[in-house]
């Protein structure tokens, strides 16, 4: 469908990153997001960049594909850089653009923050590029499992997520069908002022919602007929297993974190 934005698009593969348990991937990325903010020297940024670049390369996903997917993000990164450049007033004045002084601190700050931003986006999109949404759901269920003690509905949440994932394409097909049906009755989705176009969405949304509720009701009945009684006593077909490569990946990541603390100023 929409190829311009890759966050959330899985690319099948057999690389080491693909084969990692989704839980280890999620934990590493979660820690990475925190750790990125601790970097404050050239060396520490260098270390994180090398880690990210090597991880990206080892997924064996074509770089052009990743770069294309990040296109909308580039704009944001460039914008952040310029903003930092203009706002920060530290260090020596490097040069002036139309009598506006640019400081050396601004350049450093801008570069650091855009790099941080870039690394964050790249690493998190690697998760969705190498992990199916279903695996992510399983990982969330497994990672949140301890919350069951405080009566947090972990199983129900995971089931909701996987059913939503399953119905996204179905509802997309339905949206297309309804929009064609309404267009054939004279609804114009594609031209006219924005206000009219927004109004044209209403005859699309109403039938879509009605049918979604009907589907939900039928699905609930089908689930009950198939013996669904909630999460207790349920077994699972899909199994997550921590293996050798997971320990390896986690160890490598901790080495990076230690390295980061050593290179910090």
């Amino acid at each position: 469908m929409n190829n311009a934005f890759i966050v959330g698009q899985y690319v099948p593969g057999e690389s080491m990153i693909h084969r990692l348990d989704p839980r280890s991937k999620m934990v590493i990325i979660f820690l990475f997001v925190i750790v990125v903010f601790l970097a404050n020297s050239v060396w520490s940024y260098g270390l994180l960049t090398i880690f990210t670049v090597l991880t990206t390369l080892s997924t064996r996903i074509p770089l052009s594909y990743i770069a294309k997917g990040l296109t909308p993000v580039w704009l944001l990164i460039v914008f952040t850089f310029i903003l930092q450049l203009v706002v920060t007033k530290e260090g020596a004045v490097l040069f002036q653009i139309i009598s506006y002084p640019i400081y050396s601190g601004g350049v450093a700050q801008g570069a650091a923050i855009s790099l941080r931003f870039f690394l964050l986006i790249l690493v998190t999109s690697l998760l969705t590029l190498t992990t199916t949404p279903l695996e992510i759901t399983d990982a969330i269920e497994s990672l949140l499992h301890p919350l069951k003690r405080i009566k947090f509905p972990v199983h129900e949440l995971a089931l909701m997520m996987s059913i939503s994932l399953r119905f996204i394409p179905t509802l997309m097909q339905e949206t297309e069908k309804i929009s064609k049906a309404q267009a054939s009755r004279g609804v114009d989705f594609k031209s006219g002022p924005i206000k009219n176009r927004i109004q044209a969405i209403i005859p699309l949304l109403v039938p879509l919602f009605v049918s979604a509720f009907k589907r939900a009701e039928e699905l609930a009945m089908a689930m009950e007929a198939r013996g669904y009684q909630g999460g207790d006593g349920r077994t699972k077909l899909r199994e997550l297993r921590i293996e050798g490569i997971d320990y390896l990946a986690i160890s490598v990541f901790f080495l990076i974190v230690i390295g980061l603390f050593l290179t910090r100023v």
Partner: protein
Amino acid sequence: MEKRIVTFRNVSFRYRESLPWVLNNVSFSINADEWVAIIGHNGSGKSTIAKLMNGLLTPQEGEILVNGTPVTPETIWEIRKNIGMVFQNPDNQFVGTTVQDDVAFGLENRGFPRKEMVKRIKQTLLQVGMEAYTLHEPHRLSGGQKQRVAIAGVLAIAPQVIILDEATAMLDPRGRLEIMETMHHVKEQHNVSFIMITHDLKEVVRADRVIVMSEGKVVEIAPPRDIFAKKEKLQQSGLDIPFVAKLVDELTKLGTKLSKEPLNHDELLEELWTLYLKR
């Protein structure tokens, strides 16, 4: 006497007290390994029967026995292990994200160990001829294929009764054929009763017995051939008479005597070309 698997005793049901009865004093029984078709026009109460059988609805009057156990709120989970159900809309009963996840759903609910699940998924998908689609997502399957997966999901828990509640109504002719063939294939390999709920008389020809419903009442219980012979009764129940039966009717009016009521084109052809010889 044959073993009775499902018994309805004077069952009446309505959705609300202010509404008319959907089922009115219905009694019948279904034997083990039998293939029964329940037929009736829209609103005749045929789908309600299916939902009563596995406790999705509870009757106001009368008693339903499955395998000798009365259907009550306490026994429904036990009963649902014995009764599998395939619904009308192929999309709205597909729970899993992939074919194998969907077949696994019923097994997971019943706490099967993983090893057994993998084995049964493989077996049942083979039986419905969907083994090549194990990892497919539902939106990449046709309606008939989705219904075959639904049948596999039901078969996986090895029930004694499989109810198909208008399972072919939303399919194209090819999908219908697929489902009928799948059902035959399954029937050959398993000891299982089929209860097929439909409004299409063409689908009942392979059943052992047909229950005709109208206005919430059982109008007739008989083998398909006898049912086809009672065209007036069918018409009164609001059902479409198949072309073959209509043609036979017209022929009879013209004085042609056939030796038996033909069920399909082939049988009619057989009757017609042997007609002259018999004379």
